[in-house]
């Protein structure tokens, strides 16, 4: 599991790679929160495109960052969720909370 953080003008993009569970979420959190604290971005994009597994720890990871972004007056967007990860997020009602975007499917 890794997270690559990209800095844009007023936004931060985080690209997750691998499996998100309780173990990985704990490791990811600190780096992202440090980036938010220092850059105070208007927008945080969490990109799940390369995530191969996610359990409810992913919900905590997104919810926690959502609160951090609210605290600095910014917003959060979740992108490229796989059908499996979307299913977990939806169970938590996260689809009502903010912006969840699924991976584009090519038929």
């Amino acid at each position: 599991m890794s997270a690559r953080i990209e800095y844009h003008q007023r936004a931060i993009r985080v690209f997750f790679d691998g499996e998100i569970d309780h173990h990985a979420a704990g490791l990811m959190r600190v780096g992202i929160d440090n980036a938010i604290m220092h850059k105070r971005p208007q927008l945080l994009v969490l990109d799940f495109g390369a995530v191969t597994f996610m359990d409810s720890s992913g919900i905590g990871l997104v919810m926690g960052r959502y609160k951090q972004m609210k605290a600095v007056g910014g917003s959060l967007r979740v992108e490229n969720l796989s059908p499996a990860a979307y299913k977990v997020m939806k169970l938590a009602g996260m689809d009502k909370l903010g912006e969840l975007h699924q991976k584009a499917v090519n038929h």
């Binding site: 359990d55 905590g60 926690g64 169970l91």
Partner: protein, 147 residues
């Protein structure tokens, strides 16, 4: 329901083993030729149960987790995840979505995920003795044969 294949694992309640345990169960369940979605649901449910044992059962202190997986002739898989941790005072309350006793960023959705991603879930717990979660998932595919 007849058990036609079984495996057992005992491992340390370390968070690095969350990935190991769900991968092991997925490899065992592959004998039933599950769909991608069935396998993904199973891995997620196992991950929730093992994480609960680590975070809540043992409160991140070291202990052992005992996992038994059985392939049944239904066809499907039954997984029992047992810890010798603190136990749960009120199982009904613990099963409620968003209920959590852990500090930090646990969403309180572990049991809700297990329930919705499996066909059956039972929780037996005795405070001071430990908790056993049993998950059952029916897997379509081909009828399971031991050979």
């Amino acid at each position: 329901m007849k058990i036609i294949n079984e495996m057992k694992l005992t491992f340390d309640a370390r968070s690095v083993n969350e990935g190991f345990s769900r991968a092991a169960v997925a490899a065992f369940a592959a004998l039933l030729d599950p769909t991608v979605e069935e396998l993904s649901d199973l891995r997620t449910a196992v991950s929730e149960a093992v994480t609960n044992a680590i975070v809540h059962g043992y409160r991140e202190q070291l202990g052992k987790i005992f996992l038994t997986a059985q392939i049944t002739d239904r066809p499907g898989i039954r997984i029992r995840i047992r810890d010798r941790g603190v136990g749960i005072e009120d199982v009904e309350q613990a099963r409620q979505p968003l209920f959590t006793t852990a500090a930090g960023e646990r969403a309180g959705l572990g049991f809700a995920v297990m329930e919705s991603f499996c066909d059956r879930m039972t929780v037996r717990s005795t405070p001071g003795v430990g908790t056993t979660v049993t998950l059952e998932k029916y897997i379509g595919g081909k009828p399971a044969r031991p050979d």
